[in-house]
């Protein structure tokens, strides 16, 4: 399931980004951990349940202005869809 522009993605209950310095970029989930690569961490940090997908995409496209905005949108939506299937994010 992929998010629509007006959806407000957030981490699912029981999921959080690790507070430890040694584990930067580790997403802790019930009974497991997911290593976040590259921009995945930046994407999830913005999934606070307040911002819409459209706003998140805008902010990412601004931050990574050297990259193709279409590509950023595609990758972000794909990542959120995959994480929703694993019950790590919700909206």
């Amino acid at each position: 399931m992929t998010p629509a522009p007006e959806d407000r993605p957030r981490l699912a209950p029981g999921c959080r980004i690790s507070e430890s310095d040694q584990q930067t970029g580790t997403l802790l989930v019930p009974e497991g951990a997911i290593k976040l690569r590259g921009t995945a961490l930046r994407i999830l940090e913005q999934c606070d349940g307040a911002r819409t997908l459209a706003e998140i995409l805008q902010s990412l496209q601004l931050e990574f202005s050297a990259s193709d905005p279409e590509r950023i949108a595609h990758d972000t939506i794909q990542l959120l869809g995959q994480l929703r299937d694993r019950n790590v994010v919700t909206w």
Binding site: M1, A12, P13, G14, C15, R16, S18, E19, S20, Q22, Q23, T26, L28, V29, P30, E31, G32, A33, R84, D85, R86, N87
Partner: protein
């Protein structure tokens, strides 16, 4: 020599005390008494050592972890040491106030166990009137901000109600439902004849779970732990011996898995005497089956050795008498006939009157 990778998870059996008497209890036959249990300050020291060792996940379990009065303090300390805190519980001993306390202390996730969807059948398995209380506490959990998993243990006597059990979980609305077949160690080994499902039941259950997984995708994830007696290849028990997990017994002994004490001639170190890192990296119990040097044929030259790590050492010992044998679940194992014999046995007995349960004492 390359450095030993850090373990991912620490299973803390903080007590063996439990208000339930489940006929398939996975705890060892000999339980630790309350006077043997580690003190609060021992656990606080362990959590600090776990953080230094790089452990990410803590599993507070038992027995029933709620039986410890210092549980909230343990959760708070574990969170201070950057651990993700899972509570594996029957729910007995939990109420709204205590749940609030645990959530405030930093509890991340609760796995709540059920025995059945039918109250009378559930209470028969548990040897206690527990089912109604579990339903109440599930609602309380759902109102709070924490991860929630429902766990249902299945076996021959309740598999016919698998659709009802899935429906019950849907109503309780956890993020995840874990449907787990009884694994035959500890107390369950004693009631194996009564619990072992038929091949037909197993096949039907797989189809039921697969269709529910499709229907509920994106709402509730269903994890199905298949009974390994019916697999072609063994499970990667604990993700490999001394590879991902360590378990601390209520008395402080550190084990590679919860059943490891059935294996004779293994010496288990105690956290009262040794630091966790030394036990993980250098103790003989963890080294004994770590890696591949211990493997006999056919494991040693098998392409699957990095997937299942030779299977389960405790099962190999229980069924062949040799802890270093290939797990007999494997169709390539020299002793695979032992499994075939057990699996072939239950079907004709289904119609016969049930034997009495041997309840967990």
């Amino acid at each position: 020599m390359t450095a030993t990778p850090a373990p991912l998870g620490l299973i803390a059996e903080i007590t063996h005390r439990c208000p339930l008497h489940c006929v398939y209890c996975s705890n060892p036959i000999e339980l630790a008494a309350q006077r043997e249990e580690l003190a609060t300050e021992d656990w606080l020291r362990i959590f600090e050592q776990a953080q230094q060792l790089g452990i990410l996940q803590l599993f507070l379990t038992g027995g029933e972890p709620l039986a410890r009065k210092d549980l909230t303090e343990l959760v708070r300390s574990a969170r201070e040491h950057k651990l993700y805190v899972n509570l594996i519980t029957s729910g007995i001993g939990l109420n709204a106030a205590r749940l609030d306390e645990l959530v405030t202390a930093g509890l991340d996730h609760i796995q709540l166990s059920f025995q059945d969807s039918d109250a009378a059948a559930a209470d028969e398995i548990a040897g206690a009137r527990a089912h109604a209380l579990k339903l109440q506490i599930a609602q309380e959990i759902n109102r709070r901000d924490l991860g929630f998993t429902v766990n249902i243990v299945v076996h021959r006597r309740n598999l016919a109600r698998l659709p009802q059990m899935i429906a019950m979980a849907e109503e309780l609305a956890p993020q995840k439902l874990e449907v787990a077949h009884v694994q035959y160690y500890g107390w369950a080994f004693r009631n194996r004849e009564q619990l072992l499902p038929t091949c037909q039941q197993v096949d039907e259950s797989i189809a039921i779970v697969e269709s529910a997984q499709k229907r509920l995708a994106g709402r509730m994830r269903i994890e199905y732990v298949t009974p390994d007696y019916y697999g072609k290849y063994p499970k990667a028990c604990m993700g490999g011996w001394g590879r991902k997990m360590m378990l601390i017994h209520p008395s402080g002994r550190v084990l590679p898995c919860h059943a490891a004490e059935v294996i004779p001639d293994l010496r288990f170190e105690n956290v009262r005497e040794r630091p966790l890192r030394w036990i993980w990296e250098e103790s003989t119990a963890f080294l004994r089956f770590r890696g591949e040097a211990w493997m006999p044929e056919p494991c040693r030259s098998c392409d699957r050795r990095a997937q299942d790590f030779g299977g389960c050492r405790c099962q190999a010992f229980l069924l062949t008498g040799d802890a270093a044998a290939t797990d007999p679940v494997c169709i390539l194992a020299p002793k695979h006939a032992a499994i075939e014999k057990i699996v072939a046995a239950p079907a004709p007995q289904l119609a016969t009157p049930e034997r009495e349960w041997i309840y967990r004492l």
